[in-house]
């Protein structure tokens, strides 16, 4: 395990967190740690419990059991104090759509208790962060999807939070907009803001997260820096063998019998950790191992 040095404090830590809705165990014993000043990616398929976890971190869902500590506050009891020092960017846009960008920020500067004398400056800075200074008075419905998302992020930063929760920050956006948001998030991390981000985009986790926690069925299956996770579970190289379904099954069987783990990619079987296997494995295309290989291996081939 590549845990942080003991002297680094946690911005957020979660131990044995559980939450069920009826017979559905949304979160089933999750452990999670965000060392101060780092960006942690919570990576998992849909339904892995990421959003439920995020809601428990803001006190909007009550855990059945487990410990949550956010910026030194115990949740849910002290969730209000924690919320005063963190920013939350929801997955679903909940801006006031009939109001201008500026008014949206004015309201949240107030809700986040920015002192009256600093509120105008905070709103101006927010508009700058969202790069909407020129469109400050445009009504939200007139803004593009990318602009709205930038505004949503800027809204969460008005009070200079020490921790930022990002729930699927780039879901449903164009690649260009996504890259622009990645630059923005990376900038915040560089400035020292601790970040917890859920995503099911592997590339997003790979680029932004210092540490990735992979979750499946409400539990953390492994955690570590992306490169380490790849080395641990998928080695250096992957050999992809293409063929008709019957051939793929055969290849899969042979590779597993030889002690290798495999994953399906849809059109091929990928044999993980294939470096130095030589002709012990069927022939195929060799490529570098990726986080995606780890993700599929650890969270299962089929998503419920």
């Amino acid at each position: 395990m590549t845990r942080t040095l003991p002297c680094v404090a946690s911005a957020l830590s979660v131990t044995a967190l559980r939450k069920s809705f009826g017979s559905v165990h949304a979160v089933a014993g999750l452990d999670l740690d965000v060392p101060e000043g780092t960006c942690v990616g919570l990576l998992g398929p849909n339904g892995a419990g990421k959003s439920t976890t995020m809601r428990m971190l803001t006190g909007q869902t009550r855990p059945d059991s487990g410990e949550i500590s956010v910026l030194g506050f115990r949740l849910p009891r002290e969730s209000k104090q924690a919320r005063a020092q963190m920013g939350v960017v929801p997955q679903l846009d909940n801006l006031d759509t009939t109001l201008s960008a500026r008014d949206n920020l004015r309201i949240f500067a107030r809700l986040y208790r920015v002192p009256a004398a600093e509120r105008d400056a905070a709103v101006a800075r927010g508009l700058e962060i969202a790069r909407l200074t020129a469109r400050a008075d445009a009504v939200v419905t007139a803004l593009s999807g990318g602009m709205r998302r930038r505004l949503l992020i800027a809204r969460a930063l008005l009070h200079g939070p020490r921790l930022l929760l990002l729930d699927e920050p780039t879901v449903g956006l164009d690649p260009q907009v996504r890259q622009e948001l990645w630059a923005m998030i990376d900038g915040l991390r560089t400035e020292g803001t601790s970040i917890l981000m859920t995503t099911h985009y592997i590339e997003e986790a790979e680029r932004l997260a210092d540490t990735v926690t992979i979750v499946a069925a409400g539990e953390a299956v492994d955690e570590g820096p992306p490169a380490e996770l790849v080395a641990r579970h998928a080695g250096r190289e992957v050999r992809e063998v293409y063929g008709p379904p019957a051939r793929l099954e055969e290849v899969e069987g042979a590779a597993r019998a030889a002690g290798f783990s495999t994953r399906r990619t849809g059109t091929s079987v990928a044999i993980l950790g294939a470096e130095g296997a030589g002709d012990r494995l069927p022939e195929g295309e060799t490529r570098a191992s990726r986080l995606e290989d780890v993700f599929v291996k650890l969270t299962g081939e089929e998503v419920a």
Binding site: Q60, G72, F73, K80, Q81, P90, N94, L95, D96, L111
Partner: protein, 287 residues
């Protein structure tokens, strides 16, 4: 009660420390925020005020025109048949009565639809609750804002009545306060109903089966004295009836000790509905 460690901790702080720039490290910062904070309430109200600024024309129109239409239809229409009721001109009787109707329209309906839309469709409540605002502050702020609005809009029928010759006593200045108090209870009722219904279509049941009888059997358009005893007893449980009676007594200058009991009934109604609205909204929002 402050624990003994708290003053000591405060004393330990270095002088000249600016808490905004130098937030206390985790662990030390366990200062409790109070349960209901004025800052949180005014923050949420400010959101309502800014939103109202963006759509005030529709708001004023919806909240005032409807009761004024009732006033004119009944006052002028029925006024041809009925000239005096309880010793007052019928138009004066109706213009004072429709204050309660105006309050109901501008508070209960807005609270019901508004809170449903903000909770389910716009997800505004999710956004607000991710800031340092709790459910009780959210509900209190929204209900308070609707009560203030209801107090002002609710008084419009009196102005219309004056235009038609109503001669108000000095105690009429209390009418906006009565309207506000009634409005608080009904805004909270609307919020409570919104938190218990399954879908927005269920509001039709509430509107037809609850609010319509409430405003018709409140002594707005006809006196309740001629009704069977059972109805008169039920009417005493109708907060709108107390509102109507209070507004009439204030406007006609007939304030008496029973009015104090009516104020008490409205306070009780407001408190119960507020409590229910907070409780049910919390259950709906915090799973």
């Amino acid at each position: 009660m402050a624990t003994p460690s708290e003053p000591a901790r405060r004393g330990d702080e270095p002088p000249g420390r600016d808490p905004a720039r130098d937030p206390s490290p985790p662990g030390e910062a366990s200062r409790r925020l109070r349960r209901i904070e004025w800052d949180a309430i005014t923050g949420v109200m400010m959101r309502e005020v800014i939103n109202f600024g963006a759509a005030w024309k529709q708001g004023v129109f919806a909240s005032t025109v409807q009761p004024v239409v009732y006033l004119l239809a009944f006052g002028l229409g029925f006024g041809q048949l009925v000239h005096r009721v309880d010793g007052h001109d019928y138009i004066d009787y109706v213009s004072t009565g429709t204050v309660a109707t105006a309050v109901l329209f501008s508070t209960a309906f807005n609270a019901m639809f508004g809170s449903f839309v903000k909770r389910e469709f716009q997800r505004t409540y999710d956004a607000i609750l991710s800031t340092p605002v709790d459910v009780e502050e959210l509900v209190t702020a929204e209900v308070l804002w609707l009560a203030v609005r209801g107090g002002l809009f609710g008084s419009v029928p009196i102005l219309v009545g004056i235009a038609f010759g109503l001669d108000p006593a000095w105690t009429t200045i209390f009418v906006p306060l009565v309207a506000m108090l009634t409005g608080f209870g009904f805004a909270a009722s609307g919020t409570l109903i919104s938190a218990v219904v399954g879908s927005i279509d269920d509001f039709s049941y509430v509107t037809s089966a609850l609010f319509t009888p409430l405003f018709l059997v409140a002594g707005t358009f006809f006196p309740l004295t001629g009704l069977p005893l059972a109805f008169r007893i039920l009417a005493e449980l109708n907060p709108l009836h107390h509102c109507v009676e209070l507004v009439r007594d204030c406007t006609f200058g007939d304030v008496d000790p029973t009015d104090l009991a009516r104020v008490g009934a409205l306070v009780l109604f407001a408190a119960l509905m507020w409590w229910g609205a907070v409780d049910r909204t919390r259950r709906r929002l915090i799973a």
